[in-house]
């Protein structure tokens, strides 16, 4: 509002250009566009090219045809995809119910020490996957013997196996470690949502004769359905991208044993950079990333147009 000069008597004053809006928005928009959005779009573009003399050669959808057509690629892709789905389902069926149960217990109004429990439950989430991976590697290692000793103490010592090293159990073990680490995030979201349920609604239910368990089941749960939906989609996205860190740390880039813990993240990493005998390929890397982009897009689309819309009908 710099213009304080006089205006002609009959004219209505026009608002000056509001430069400050630009100043507030430009830095965030620029950094975000250059380092987040542009690379994703550029990756989508690169997936349509192939290495040629002095740069990329446009090949249309040939890379995708390779990815899904050539057994060498398709086998790896579908194996990683299948493992991701297993990972996702196990998080949905184990992590989120545990988180919901713990959040429900924490939100009991008369509970003492809720803040302390909350802090403890969130601790593993704070840790680097490198730390978490190594801790569990040590604990599960037959060499160090913490778990065999513990299981002997319980009288089930004979059941001990080097789970991370076995093809049949490696993926499940990795998933359980991931659940141990990340249960804090859905826990916090559920807890906050449960705290937001109005006290009067619960009192009304109590007057209607519902007891604690039914109040949770019939009153609180429907009210926090939008949060359940949100946790679901965050689990879906996280499982396709964040799972890389833990698996790379625990099982290495080859996601062993014999690719049994390979997920889209490790597959993308190997494709892009190469690993041991395999050579890295920028264009195929971009293709795998783009395929992953579409997989996530489908999930987010289903969530936004299906799940979330239906859930919101329960609102207020």
């Amino acid at each position: 509002m710099a213009n304080t000069g006089s205006v002609s008597s009959e004219q209505t004053h026009r608002r000056p250009v509001r430069w400050y809006i630009l100043v507030f928005l430009a830095p965030a928009t620029l950094i975000y566009t250059i380092f987040a959005i542009y690379p994703i779009i550029e990756s989508l573009r690169l997936s349509l090219y192939e290495a040629g003399d002095g740069g990329g050669v446009f090949v249309g959808l040939a890379n995708y045809a390779r990815l899904f057509g050539e057994p060498l690629w398709a086998d790896q892709f579908w194996n990683a995809f299948k493992n991701n789905i297993v990972l996702f389902l196990m998080h949905m069926l184990i992590q989120n119910p545990i988180a919901l149960a713990l959040a429900a217990l924490l939100s009991v109004p008369t509970l003492k020490g809720a803040a302390t429990y909350r802090t403890i439950f969130f601790l593993p989430t704070l840790l680097s996957v490198v730390v978490v991976g190594f801790i569990w590697q040590l604990i599960l290692s037959p060499l160090w013997g913490v778990s065999p000793a513990f299981m002997n103490w319980l009288g089930i010592g004979s059941f001990f196996k080097p789970w991370l090293g076995l093809e049949s159990s490696a993926l499940i073990t990795v998933t359980l470690i991931s659940i141990w680490q990340y249960v804090g995030i859905p826990l916090m979201l559920f807890y906050a949502a449960l705290l937001n349920v109005p006290e009067e609604t619960i009192e009304a239910a109590r007057i209607d004769g519902l007891n604690g368990w039914w109040i949770f089941w019939k009153v609180k749960l429907p009210l926090i359905l939008p949060t359940l939906g949100l946790v679901g989609i965050l689990t879906y996205i996280g499982n396709f991208t964040a799972s890389f860190d833990l698996i790379y740390t625990l099982q290495g880039g080859l996601a062993g044993p014999d690719y049994s813990t390979d997920v889209m993240g490790t597959f993308l990493f190997r494709t892009f950079f190469g690993f041991q005998a395999q050579l890295g390929d920028v264009y195929m890397g971009a293709t795998v990333a783009s395929a992953l982009f579409f997989i996530i897009l489908i999930g987010v689309g289903l969530y936004l147009f299906g799940v979330q819309r239906r859930l919101q009908r329960y609102d207020s």
Binding site: I41, S128, V130, L189, V300
Partner: protein, 278 residues
């Protein structure tokens, strides 16, 4: 009735304590053993570091004989600078989005939070090319820029939701008091968003401090290595020196732990006020 209530309360505590043990045991194991001699680590992994089993040698070798302090400094720089940028630029953008009406405001609001749903890692291939062409490979600047871009969407989402729930009248009042739009932001809006800053800070900080992907790809060089990447490589190199490995892990845990303890009180209040409401 009262007896029944007491039993259920005992039951709840039993479940919560059991899970607390599960959450804490692995951590305690690392920290305890990091203070032990190599012999004691193997002979009695669950024993306390007392008497002759006590040894701080691991910390000694980590802090003096390795590049660990350098990595630690790198991580601290990257995390703190990214966090400041995310909080400041995110709050600025959110203020503009919640306060002013302008053409395309709804679109820009959606565009800026798109990154919550589309992970920035999907652009890694092109991002590496971009960083290399800017001459930023193996620099902390590259990590800071990428983490800022990665953290902005969730920060903008939480700040905007919160600011929309705050009365607009206080900003109008400041306008009448003669503050410029910039001073309104710094003197009125910043104090107003204080309660959610903790939430945004924790949610932005954890993935930055702990990230392995971008340090591995964008700045794996010796000079720009972060703690997470450093520890990962360190574990590979010195599996023999267990004391050092465990000490390095304990040291890597420390900063997030301190930050969390500082912010944890405000964390839930912030989630309640900002994120879940939306």
């Amino acid at each position: 009735m009262l007896v029944k209530q007491r039993i259920s309360s005992v039951g709840i505590h039993a479940v919560l304590i059991a899970y607390s043990v599960l959450a804490l045991f692995p951590l305690a194991l690392i920290v305890l053993n990091s203070f032990k001699t190599r012999k004691a680590i193997f002979r009695d992994p669950t024993g306390l570091p007392l008497g002759e089993s006590f040894s701080a040698k691991g910390y000694d070798s980590v802090l003096s004989n390795s590049d660990f302090p350098l990595y630690f400094g790198n991580s601290l720089t990257v995390t703190v600078v990214s966090l400041v940028l995310i909080l400041l630029l995110g709050a600025m953008a959110s203020h503009a989005l919640s306060e002013y009406r302008f053409p395309g405001d709804t679109f820009l609001g959606l565009y800026l939070v798109l990154g919550i749903m589309v992970p920035i890692r999907l652009g890694t291939v092109a991002l590496l090319e971009l960083i290399v062409s800017m001459g930023l490979a193996n620099t902390l600047t590259a990590l800071i820029l990428v983490y800022t871009a990665q953290g902005l969407p969730i920060a903008i989402f939480i700040f905007t939701e919160f600011l929309r729930s705050v009365s607009k009248e206080i900003k109008d009042s400041a306008r009448i008091d003669g503050l410029s739009e910039y001073r309104i932001f710094f003197e009125v809006v910043i104090p107003l968003v204080r309660p959610v800053i903790a939430t945004v800070a924790v949610f932005s900080m954890i993935p930055i401090w702990n990230d392995l992907w971008f340090p591995l790809i964008l700045s794996p060089g010796e000079e720009s290595r972060t703690v997470t990447l450093g520890v990962q490589q360190f574990i590979g190199q010195y599996t023999v020196n267990w004391g050092a490995v465990l000490a390095s892990l304990s040291v890597a845990i420390l900063p997030v732990l301190v930050m969390y303890v500082i912010f944890s009180k405000q964390l839930i209040r912030g989630i309640t006020a900002g994120a879940v409401k939306g």
